[in-house]
């Protein structure tokens, strides 16, 4: 993969960026017409720009735009934690997102590296390898869904897949609308969105989380009204769940190894929420993903809640 373009060609391509984008967009449209619906990996890899995603949300956006990233962080853990969308085997692992391997990045010769503002300390080192683009999804003023939509459009412009992005966003909005009407008759309890951490602690998702945006769009009430960090969750002891007595618990997979036995404990079974309303389990779904994950979460929520009596 290293020898496909010489240094001069790459520099030349970057210099005439607008024409390059237009040419790439035309090529993409033409390819789409000729090979309708095909996602041939080799051909796509040759024509698509080589983008490194140092955050799983960006990887998700790229994959749902049918452009595989050439490298991603924490590839090893991706299958266990996120698993959707499926990561093609050819994607290179560059280490942990907080400390990616510079030599590996240099070796694969990327055209662009995507980071979040939390990784800005990497900018100086990464700029020596490829142009760096920083996109923030979870910021102190919240609204991650809107930011994820904007990020999808921005990344789509980078790879020349704008039509696909528009389709994606429209599809997600449609899914969520459908979910909202399916839940119109759900006059049920407010929900706790829970990610168990171990036998005694859990992550509860509230204000500023992606899931909260979806809940708002679905017209559901979140039982957790306490403070959250800028990723939209709070780490609490499970006993805090006893405060809201009329709530329902939605347990979000994956379940960490340390939390396997919590559902058998006497405490859990006697929690008011568990006792009166039972526990719903959904997922695995990634709490820090993008628009496609949000739509998928809405769908999963509808499946589990609409089958329950109000």
């Amino acid at each position: 993969m290293r020898g496909l373009r010489s240094a001069e060609t790459r520099r030349g391509l970057r210099a005439c960026a607008p024409q390059w984008h237009r040419r790439r967009a035309l090529q993409a449209v033409g390819a789409a017409i000729l090979v309708a619906g095909s996602t041939d990996a080799a051909r796509a890899a040759e024509s698509a720009p080589r983008i490194v995603a140092l955050n799983w949300a960006f990887a998700e956006i790229l994959l749902t735009l049918d452009v595989a990233p050439i490298a991603v962080n924490d590839r090893f853990a991706y299958g266990r934690t996120v698993s959707w969308p499926a990561m093609p085997p050819a994607v290179v692992d560059v280490g942990i997102g907080g400390a990616p391997n510079f030599e590996a990045l240099h070796a694969i010769r990327p055209d662009r590296i995507l980071i979040t503002p939390a990784q800005d300390y990497l900018r100086a080192a990464l700029s020596k390898i490829a142009p760096v683009e920083s996109i923030g999804l979870f910021m102190p003023d919240g609204e991650p869904y809107r930011r994820a939509a904007a990020a999808t459009l921005r990344i789509a412009d980078d790879v020349g897949a704008r039509p696909k992005a528009d389709d994606l966003l429209a599809g997600a909005a449609g899914t969520i609308d459908q979910a909202r009407s399916a839940l119109r008759d759900y006059r049920g309890a407010p929900v706790y969105l829970l990610g168990l951490l171990d036998n005694r602690h859990a992550r509860v998702f509230g204000r500023r989380s992606l899931f909260q945006d979806v809940l708002g769009m679905l017209g559901l009430r979140n039982a957790w009204t306490g403070s959250t960090n800028e990723f939209g969750f709070a780490t609490i002891g499970i006993e805090m769940l006893a405060q809201e007595q009329d709530a329902r618990i939605v347990n979000i997979l994956p379940l960490p190894v340390a939390a396997r036995s919590v559902t058998e404990s006497a405490f859990w079974r006697n929690l008011p929420a568990v006792n009166r309303r039972g526990v719903t389990t959904i997922g695995p779904v990634w709490p820090f993903g993008g628009v496609a994950t949000a739509a998928r979460f809405a769908g999963l929520l509808v499946q589990s809640l609409s089958s329950e009596p109000a």
């Binding site: 942990i96 030599e103 171990d198 602690h201 609490i236 002891g237 405060q243 340390a258 404990s265």
Partner: protein
């Protein structure tokens, strides 16, 4: 060995007892407040004995609030009992379950078990913790059998084993699901409970161990004499020691399995009990567990009351240092410590002839390691030797971190030499002094104030932090004219306190601290070229200055009075050496975070190789420290490509087992 028992003048007795009573009253008041917030007081008794489970308030009190309090008491008492036994058996007031690596061993075993055997029940976890703690104990004590379990080598071996276990465990945490914080939470010592299972497992073990401890009280009391006298009285010194250590192992394992790693209680409680006037061992055995229970209870209630209703701002395991450290420092500053006899024996052994050849040999090894590190490594396409062109292409990412690591290793090693000769205590090192932590905290403060940091600003902040710690230590120690053991005690307490403050600061979730967390783990990945050049320059300059102080170091290691008789101005010399050590530590911490291991180990390796004179030891230790860090940097970069192990962690893996093996064979 010396028997440094911290003694308080009798007049203090009443005052300190009063202090304890006040603390107990405050803790009780805070508990009452927490309970009252959840449940009206007329329902309290019902909630304890026959709770109405349909009432969520009583449910909470019965299943969450009360078990937490009782677990606090049991854990505090267990750790204090373990600490008392260890301190008496080893005749050293600075020993605790953490120092001997027992807590870390249990924690590592539990971490591994959670990954490999996720369906293990509570009893299984207890067993695993005991196995882990026991294995570390057997390893440490088995290796030190050849030295008759002499206190200082045992302590060293225990500390190294503990650091190795902690490093292994944090590696597992680094590469486990990166968004899975469960192991981190539990490792930090959270006392949150949701049933009585922890209590039901803790109290039988505590009762059994307390019974055995009572049986051991008489023999351990005799251990207060030196080993020869004890043996002449018919005591089986080894057997009694082993028994005491076994009991401490069981206690530590039970606490770690229940609530994770809780530090400082095992160190503080016996010391406080001693300061309150419990001078005989039997008295300490009686009073230390309640003091430990009180300490932990107070810390936990403080955490609960000062948190918002939603979540805790710091795990209790870290908060124990916040509660215990200032109190201990204050008490240590006011009580008199028995002066130690000069411990010059190890440094006065005959030096090897021709030290320069050895030093030159170390230099050649270092040069070789530099070449290997730059040319050989792992990559996207596997292991390969680079040719010159490839090496130059990759050197922007290989050379700065390599030379930064070398400089930091050398500086830390020299700091270790300075501190060990200054205090006459083989356990001394930059981390033990708290200077490394002070420098780290200076860096963290700067990251909050000015996120865009320049190299010079970083060094100034780091040096300010280190210097402040140094000033505090000097002020606290002034009355005893820098008595070495008091310096060490103060340093350890300060290091614990500052580490806790760093943890609390990191827990705020400020995005700037992500980079800091990686740096604090000892990673060399982000060293830039100008930083590396600065580090090399500083290293050469400061090590050169240290060599000039060679004569002072020789005289200081002869002990206070001898040195003074030979014309040394003790206070001035000590102050100058402390300042030098602070600058060295600040510079090293700037590069690789607060590592203490290399600084602890390199002087020992240099002495074991036969370098005994101060100048030769300085040079040899510096080169060895640089060599270890170079190898650690290379291994961290390549072994798990593309994942990178921080060089500090790898240095612990390399150094720990090898060092323990060397400890077994040769004298110090």
């Amino acid at each position: 060995m010396t028997a440094d028992r911290i003694e308080a003048p009798p007049l203090r007795f009443a005052g300190l007892i009063g202090l304890a009573a006040v603390a107990a009253a405050i803790a009780a008041a805070m508990t009452a407040q927490t309970l009252a917030a959840r449940l009206p007081s007329d329902l309290w008794w019902q909630a304890v004995t026959a709770p109405d489970l349909a009432d969520p308030r009583q449910f909470l009190v019965h299943f969450a609030v009360l078990p937490r309090i009782v677990t606090c008491w049991l854990c505090g008492a267990s750790l204090a009992l373990a600490g008392t036994l260890l301190q008496q058996a080893l005749q050293n007031p600075l020993v605790e379950p953490g120092t001997l690596g027992l807590s870390s061993g249990a924690f590592l075993a539990l971490t591994i078990a959670l990954v490999l055997l996720p369906d293990l029940g509570r009893l299984g976890q207890e067993a695993v913790a005991m196995i882990g703690s026991g294995l570390v104990a057997i390893l440490v004590f088995g290796l030190m059998l050849a030295r008759q379990l002499a206190p200082i080598p045992l302590l060293l071996a225990g500390m190294i084993a503990g650091m190795t276990c902690a490093a292994l465990a944090s590696c597992a945490l680094l590469f486990a699901n990166p968004y899975d914080t469960s192991l981190f939470l539990w490792g930090a010592g959270s006392l949150s409970q949701n049933d009585w299972s922890a209590v039901s497992l803790l109290w039988p073990q505590l009762a059994l161990c307390a019974a055995v401890a009572v049986l051991l009280a008489r023999p351990l009391d005799v251990m207060g004499l030196d080993a020869a006298s004890a043996r002449s009285l018919g005591l089986n010194v080894f057997g009694v020691r082993a028994a005491a250590l076994a009991v401490a192992t069981v206690l530590t394992a039970s606490v770690t399995a229940a609530v994770g790693v809780i530090g400082f209680v095992g160190l503080a409680a016996p010391a406080l009990a001693g300061m309150m006037g419990a001078r005989r061992f039997a008295q300490r055995l009686l009073w230390a567990p309640p003091v430990g229970a009180l300490l932990l209870w107070f810390s936990d209630q403080f955490v609960i009351v000062s948190s918002s209703l939603d979540r805790e701002w710091i795990p209790t395991g870290a908060a124990t240092a916040l509660a215990g450290t200032p109190l201990l420092l204050w008490l240590a500053a006011r009580s008199r410590m028995r002066r130690e006899a000069p411990r010059a024996a190890s440094w006065m052994q005959a030096a090897r002839g021709r030290p320069l050849r050895l030093v030159a040999g170390f230099y050649v090894l270092l040069a070789l390691s530099v070449v290997v590190s730059l040319f050989f490594g792992n990559g996207v396409h596997g292991w390969h030797w680079s040719d010159t062109a490839q090496m130059l292409e990759l050197s922007p990412w290989r050379a700065p971190r390599l030379f930064g690591a070398i400089a930091a290793g050398a500086m830390l090693a020299v700091t270790g030499v300075l501190m060990q000769r200054l205090t006459g205590n083989a356990m001394a090192g930059p981390e033990v002094l708290g200077v490394g932590s002070g420098a780290a905290l200076g860096m963290i403060a700067l990251a909050f104030v000015a996120p865009a940091m320049s190299g010079v600003a970083q060094f100034i902040a780091s040096a300010c932090g280190a210097g402040s710690v140094l000033l505090v230590m000097a002020a606290m120690s002034r009355s005893a004219a820098f008595d070495p053991d008091r310096l060490l005690l103060v340093g350890i307490a300060l290091a614990a306190f500052l580490n806790v403050a760093a943890v609390a600061v990191m827990a705020t979730g400020n995005p700037n601290v992500v980079a800091l967390r990686i740096w604090l783990s000892g990673s060399t990945q982000f060293v830039m070229r100008d930083q590396a050049a600065l580090a090399i320059g500083l290293a050469l300059a400061l090590i050169g200055i240290s060599l000039l102080a060679g004569r002072w170091l020789e005289l200081l290691s002869l002990g206070g009075s001898t040195g003074q008789a030979l014309g040394l101005n003790i206070a001035k010399a000590r102050l100058a050496i402390l300042l030098l050590a602070a600058c060295l530590t600040a510079a090293a911490v700037l590069i690789v975070g607060p590592l203490g291991f290399v600084g602890l180990m390199s002087p020992h390796l240099a002495r074991m190789a036969g370098l005994r004179r101060a100048g030769a030891e300085l040079l040899g230790a510096a080169l060895l420290g640089a060599l270890i860090m170079a190898l650690a940097d290379w291994a961290g970069r390549n072994l798990l490509f593309p994942y990178q192990l921080p060089a500090g962690l790898v240095a612990t893996f390399i150094g720990g087992p090898y060092f323990m093996w060397l400890m077994r064979k040769s004298g110090q």
